[in-house]
Amino acid sequence: MKKADAVLRTENLTKRFGSLEVARDVSIALPRGARHALIGPNGAGKTSLVNLITGQLHPDSGRVLLAGADITTMPRAERVKAGLARTFQINALFPDLTPLEAVVLAVCERQGTAGQFWRSLSSHGKSIDEAFGILRQLRLDDVATRTTRTLAYGQQRLLEIGLALATQPKVLLLDEPAAGVPKGESTELFSVIAALPDDISVLFIEHDMNLVFKFASRIIVLVSGGVLLEAEPDVIRADQRVRDVYLGRAKHG
């Protein structure tokens, strides 16, 4: 894959906390329409990598490029406006708002109309329609007007994705989207992810190997902050090093 094709690219990202290296020279590239998985043992630095890409963490060295533009020093909110969105491993929702309000908020923020304190909320007709459309896509339209804290955990995880989708991202980073979701619902959750538009590039962190091999077109293996291997699922499955480091352990649950 040529460098120019990558929508999201990191170049030699490095970050350490004292003696702990959470990112070692990490260079990855995400093409358009990617469905890539990021796997690795606990503590490998997967969430830290996402934090580095989104700007929650500042790298010691290295660059992050979005559609060719260097965003390494861009503040978080601006990266989102540029098309980079993420979900959180632990739900970061608005407990007292309803899903409808939360997604409408995200849509208005994207459109830059959220600061208009003189306009009533119901006058943002198009935004409301768009927000409801997203909720429908995620099959949350039934519960759109119930308070978020009363939703089932699986529904909350879907809302987590919905908030990210409302920003109309070019690149979507999903941090363990199915974490804590019962087995039966996680497949459905991933089918929603699979149904995302083709031009969105998705990178998802996941521990469940079944889901990874089912939905990923390419897998990146991260160990102790560094990229061990990046290849197609079959190659990963067969690789001895990956087996030793990660897949072997995964069999024990």
Partner: protein, 329 residues
């Protein structure tokens, strides 16, 4: 009710319903006219309550909706009060224009302070608001050539409202004026709260960390609401000056900053009318109890505060809302 599947028109209807005027609100405003007819001797107290309610409303906007804890908002109340007083002393006694200038002055001060406010949280934020309030008080005390110091500002002369209604000891003009401004304040607050801006404030309150993750320049939002809140507080302070024709250091005191927060907790934060309900309860109780014995007042308000926080943390309005929800199901 909300369990049914929503069609395309439902979300619009639901959102519109959130901002509709309720029967309770209408009843409240009708009841607000009662003092004119039934309690004419209490009109002074009534206008004090209306002023306190407007001040509480301004604090609710930042405390209840944006989650900014402040123990020093009397700073803006007092700045507005002194500004209005000084304008009359400079020779211009027209009330409405004086009020607006005072409000603008307080809003400007709020804008300046907001740069600090949005960059701190938790204990540092509480202490900074407290510290700013205290230092404004000290400053006003020290500048007694301007403010009159502990003696207060003397010689505040306010011209009659609309050139016909005199601010006299009967209190009709004062209460009517204060009530009208409270009403305008509530209308403005309603519009803000039920806008997408209000929604983003609630987002900040609910999960600050998620806001930049949805691309929100939340600091700008917080600065805007803080400035608006300071302006409204300043208007409340100017109201006090114009209706009582005095200004004292008390308008800048920590006591006033603390009292208004207590009123909000009593009534319930984030509910628009919580500050008003709290102001009514607080001021009426204080009027009755402090008359008997000032120590009595402190004991009972302290106890009430402890009780409300433990048992009804959402205040009177929150408790009522829960009751109504229970009755419905």
């Amino acid at each position: 009710m909300a369990e049914l599947s929503l069609s395309g028109a439902e979300p619009h209807r639901w959102l519109r319903r959130q901002s509709r005027w309720t029967g309770w609100e209408a009843a409240f405003w009708i009841a607000a006219f009662v003092p004119f007819l039934l309690f004419p001797t209490y009109l002074t107290l009534a206008s004090q309550i209306a002023i306190a309610a407007l001040f509480a409303l301004s604090v609710d906007l930042i405390l209840g909706y944006a989650g900014i804890v402040t123990l020093g908002h009397a700073m803006f109340f007092g700045l507005g009060a002194y500004c209005a007083g000084l304008i009359t002393k400079a020779g211009w006694g027209e009330p409405i224009s004086g009020l607006l200038v005072a409000g603008a002055f307080a809003a400007f001060a709020g804008f300046v302070v907001s740069f600090i406010i949005v960059r701190v949280q938790h204990l540092a934020l509480i202490m900074i608001t407290l510290g700013l309030g205290l230092l404004t008080y000290e400053l006003a005390n020290a500048m007694n050539w301007l403010t009159g110091g502990t003696d207060g500002l003397q010689g505040v002369d306010v011209w009659p409202l609309f050139e016909t209604f005199d601010f006299d000891l009967w209190g009709y003009t004062a209460y009517g004026y204060a009530l009208a401004l409270l009403f305008i304040g509530v209308i403005v607050a309603r519009r803000i709260v039920h806008s997408s801006f209000g929604l983003s404030l609630r987002g900040v309150r609910e999960n600050l960390n998620r806001m930049p993750a949805i691309g929100s320049p939340y600091r700008r939002r917080l600065q805007t609401i803080y400035t608006i809140s300071a302006g409204i507080a300043g208007i409340a302070g100017a109201l006090l000056t114009q209706t009582t024709e005095t200004v004292s250091l008390e308008t800048l005191s920590f006591q006033r900053s603390a009292d208004v927060v207590v009123m909000l907790i009593l009534g319930g934060t984030g509910r628009l009318y919580g500050g008003i309900v709290g102001a009514v309860i607080f001021m009426v109780a204080r009027d009755q109890l402090a008359g008997i014995n000032p120590q009595y007042w402190y004991f009972w308000i302290g106890l009430l505060l402890m009780l409300v926080v433990l048992v009804m943390p959402k205040g009177v309005l929150g408790g009522l809302a829960r009751l109504v929800a229970k009755v419905r199901t």
